[in-house]
């Protein structure tokens, strides 16, 4: 949808500020009652979901033109989607979609994205990863003892961050797959960026090209199933790709696969991992992982001015993210005690890294991860667990700056410990 098509939604914002907080009934303490890192950090209303909707509407109506400061406000949003979950508790508005479309409009107007975004987009184009690392080093974490099945129609898609920055997650993932005798192959240097960093900063045109290229490659390789331990890649491949390109492959996150493998008895969690942990729901595996369900129908005016979709239109509220699989895995690891934070599942507080924030505004990204770790520490847990290499990067960067920091693990690492694979 374009901003023009979103005008009705934008005109409907009542500036209620619900987008800044958890829904009222979810609030258990003042300290952890907010939901949007951007408004928490920068305070002016424009930094909230609703504020950016107003900004988009004002631009659309010709009241505003892009300025440097406006772009700064726009891109200090991780597009985590929390504002939209809360908004949809009461309204038929999609602030996160509107914010993304405003980023698309900024790129189309030639003023966006931000300088560091342009740099990583160039690197995605030249070496197929946003970090500018050499293509032939993409699988350098892959050791000889890992068994690949070149005849498999399943690939393990490590993603750029796990390949170049959080190799321990990629490594743990494939070791767990090997332990369960789950056959897979890898694309190696032919694994290209999924397009997430390009898409999330509004460069939709280039992101679509990347999607098309990747889908062609998957077809050529006969890929029928993609396993990934990256929430960002999962989100792109599972949720965004089908909106724009035809896909005929299944996408599975390692947390989902491990849950199945454990229940099938193919993964034996035997070793004690004595840890009190809390789990962080990555936005892209949680509320943002709910697929867009296509809908065709008509709006019927059932009462004056009150319309009902016929057939009922699925509402993407964030209810159907991947929430239970990682928790179910954690609960089955001997010795693990899972304690929950106050803001979880569809109401999880973002780690602060997404949508180009980590690249362009690293201090803000760290500030946000600090807030989330404060919440994690308040549970009494000694370790924070998540399922996203990008969250992992932002959390570990934050933890390096803290005295007596809690530990951080990707879920795959704990499973690997429990199956004895890390010994």
């Amino acid at each position: 949808m374009t901003l023009d098509e979103m005008e009705r939604m934008m005109d409907s914002c009542v500036r209620c500020s619900k987008c800044k907080f958890l829904p009222g009934i979810m609030v258990r303490s003042k300290e952890f009652s907010s939901i949007c890192p951007s408004i928490d950090r920068f305070d002016f209303h424009a930094y909230s979901g609703g504020g950016r909707v107003i900004m988009a509407n004002a631009l659309h109506k010709g009241r505003l033109e892009f300025t440097e400061e406006m772009l700064d406000i726009l891109y200090k949003c991780t597009n985590c989607g929390a504002c939209e979950v809360v908004c949809k508790f009461f309204y038929e508005l999609e602030p996160n979609e509107i914010i993304h479309e405003l980023k698309v409009a900024a790129v189309e107007a030639g003023v966006g994205p931000m300088p560091n975004h342009k740099k990583f987009i160039e690197q995605v184009e030249s070496v197929h990863n946003p970090y500018g690392e050499p293509t032939d080093k993409r699988s350098s974490w892959l050791t000889d003892d890992i068994e690949l099945d070149e005849n498999s129609d399943t690939i393990f898609f490590a993603g750029c961050t796990a390949s170049y920055r959080r190799e321990e997650i990629a490594s743990a993932s494939v070791r767990v797959l090997n332990a369960a005798k789950e056959g897979f192959k890898m694309l190696g240097p032919d694994e290209y960026c999924c397009g997430s960093p390009v898409y999330r900063v509004g460069d939709k045109k280039r992101a679509l090209e990347i999607m098309k290229d990747n889908v062609e490659k998957f077809k050529a390789q006969g890929v029928k199933r993609i396993i990934t331990s990256c929430s960002g890649c999962y989100n792109m491949l599972k949720v965004e790709y089908p909106r724009f390109v035809e896909t005929d492959f299944e996408v599975v996150h390692t947390s989902q696969l491990m849950e199945s493998l454990i229940s099938e008895g193919r993964l034996k969690l035997t070793n004690e991992v004595p840890l009190k942990v809390t789990y962080h729901d990555p936005c892209h595996l949680g509320r943002m992982a709910e697929p867009y369900e296509p809908w065709e129908g008509e709006l019927v005016e059932v009462l004056t001015l009150v319309f009902m979709a016929d057939p009922p239109k699925p509402i993407r509220r964030g209810a159907n993210g991947v929430y239970d699989a990682p928790r179910n895995v954690l609960k089955q690891i001997p010795g693990i005690e899972l304690v929950e934070m106050e803001r979880i599942r569809e109401y999880a507080y973002c780690c602060g890294a997404g949508a180009g924030v980590k690249a362009q505004y690293p201090d803000f990204a760290l500030w946000t991860s600090g807030k989330r770790i404060d919440e994690a520490e308040s549970t009494g847990a000694s370790a924070l667990v998540s399922t996203c290499p990008f969250c992992s990067t932002n959390f570990t960067d934050q933890l390096k700056e803290r005295e007596e920091p809690m530990e951080f693990y990707d879920l795959t690492e704990l499973v690997l410990k429990s199956i004895g694979g890390s010994e």
Binding site: K20, I25, F89, V306
Partner: protein, 524 residues
């Protein structure tokens, strides 16, 4: 526009990170719900964009707010403070005006469980405060604006009945003390704060200026700025060791409903029996919640989606509900609960009522009890078109509330027939009792389409007609009474109170620096 020297002086007060004149930021304050109504009534396009402030500031202390106010007074600049700020009255109304966003002043300064009061800053929200109060078995009156809105704003400057008004009254009645930066910049601590160092009662033994700075309906931010306030708290029956737990996934959550809590929907054959029963229930002072609405209101309150509400309406609520009210009983002990239950049942039988939950006509989920407590049930009405607003809003007797509903019905039906407001058969209304007796508040929520200029205009004209009915039918003063024109319209019918408002404004705000647009102008 502000000249650079004034802007720079303001920047000196709050620091460069906490002031902006960037249009993209300013428009976040120019856009307000109900501007479309005000713009229409001023003969403009029904846009939600109102006056854009010249600058926005984010002070973090009383001292900073005071310095801003003093500077505005000395440089002919108007100011308007807001907290969460939902509604046209939160914005500035004139050129050369700045917006003071109190978001950084968000501390709960004190919870005194023994003396049952709390001291808060402007940006503490209802949900935040309640989440902390519940740990002490206490609640405050969280106005119907919702859990994300500011209790300080409501207690000091507005009228705030709520879903728990039967137990907690309304916000304006619960203000015990305030730190008030008067329009010229002096700081006054009113209520007993000034006398004892404690915020205990708004009427003394120190100065009480509640009648001056807020009166019955509040000054809507047009008479200075409030930077702290003390508010009255109320008991909340909860089992020992109980903690708030909400589980499940949006939109259907599960709440750990405390023991001895139960909701009833008491349905009566006509207004007369409804009124008698409503008087009795309120008079006995046994309920946490006692409020009435329409079938459409019942459908929206006890469902979690628009489709759910519409399904409930068409599944038979229109047929089964006549004149009902919802009671939520809460009790500390089984004996107290049994007594209250028997009392409610006796009142129901005495007035030929029936109970709709037991009959399976309506089924509140435990999360709806929690939403009642947190005051988000009223926000469900936004689900129909993403917009509604209320007319009337008198704080008077139960009989007057019923009269408002009856008189409004044909007015509303006329505009429904014009297809400019949502169809609730003209029945949509909300009444809550308060202060355990014959008192009640009635408002008429009405949905309209915020994206349709025709509907916005239609709602505005409907609101105007409702306001006229308040005068012509002596229904009391509506709660959204703002600005010179409206006060001048009502005043001559109500002992020319507007003259007194203007005297207050002139005495406390000689430079008229505190934006009078949604209060009253002394100079008029």
């Amino acid at each position: 526009m502000l000249d650079d020297t004034v802007y720079d002086a303001l920047k000196q007060i709050v620091g460069s990170d906490n002031i902006s004149k960037e249009p993209a930021i300013l428009d976040g304050y120019a856009w307000q719900w109900c501007n479309e109504v005000e713009n229409t009534l001023k003969g403009k396009d029904p846009s939600r964009f109102g006056q854009r402030p010249d600058a926005v500031l984010l002070p973090c202390s009383t001292e900073e707010v005071q310095a801003i106010v003093e500077l505005c007074n000395s440089h002919d600049v108007k100011y308007k403070a807001l907290s969460t700020g939902q509604g046209a009255w939160a914005g500035v109304t004139t050129e050369r005006a700045i917006q003071i966003d109190l978001r950084r002043m968000n501390r709960i300064l004190k919870i005194d469980p023994d003396n049952m009061y709390a001291v808060i800053e402007p940006y503490v929200t209802n949900a935040q405060l309640q989440s902390e109060l519940i740990k002490y078995g206490l609640i405050h009156n969280a106005q119907g604006g919702g859990p994300q809105t500011s209790p300080l704003a409501s207690h000091t400057s507005f009228v705030g009945p709520s879903f728990t008004s039967a137990h907690t009254g309304y916000s304006g009645r619960n203000l015990l003390g305030a730190e008030w930066i008067v329009p010229t910049g002096e700081v006054l601590q009113v209520g007993s704060f000034d006398h004892t160092g404690e915020w205990f009662t708004g009427d003394g033994p120190g100065f009480s200026l509640r009648g001056v700075f807020r009166g019955a309906y509040g000054a809507y931010g047009g008479l200075g700025v409030f930077t702290k306030c003390a508010i009255r708290l109320f008991t909340l029956p909860l089992p020992k060791g109980w903690e708030w737990k909400m589980t499940g996934t949006i939109p259907d959550h599960e709440w750990n409903l405390p023991e001895y809590w139960k909701m009833y929907v008491l349905n009566f054959p006509d207004w007369e029996k409804f009124e008698d029963a409503f008087y009795e229930v309120n008079d006995h002072n046994v309920s946490m919640m006692a409020m009435a609405s329409s079938a459409e209101g019942l459908a929206s309150m006890f469902t979690n989606t628009k489709n759910g509400a519409l399904d409930a309406i068409f599944a038979g609520l229109l047929m089964h509900t006549k004149r009902y009210f919802v009671v939520m009983l809460t009790a500390h002990t089984e004996r107290e609960f049994n007594y209250r239950t028997k009392l409610i049942q006796a009142i129901m039988v005495k007035h030929d009522g029936e109970e709709l939950i037991e009959k399976g006509i309506v089924t509140p989920m435990p999360m709806h009890y929690a939403e009642g407590l947190r005051n988000s049930l009223g926000n469900h009405a936004f689900r129909f078109t993403s917009c509604f607003q209320s007319t009337h809003g008198g704080l008077d007797t139960i009989a007057m509330s019923v009269k408002i509903c009856q008189i409004n019905l044909p007015i509303k039906q006329k505009y429904i027939e014009k297809r400019v407001i949502g169809d609730d058969r003209g029945e949509g209304m909300w009444i809550t009792g308060y202060e355990g007796g014959h008192l009640a508040h009635a408002e008429i929520p009405t949905v309209y389409d915020p994206a349709s200029p025709e509907s916005c205009r239609g709602y505005a004209y409907y609101q105007d007609e409702c306001n006229k009915a308040d005068i012509e039918q002596a229904l009391g003063i509506p709660f959204f009474i703002v600005g010179d024109d409206v006060h001048d319209y009502y005043g001559p019918n109500v002992m020319n109170y507007q003259n007194w408002l203007r005297k207050i404004k002139a005495a406390f705000d000689p430079n008229e620096a505190s934006d009078p647009g949604h209060y009253v102008s002394a100079k008029k």
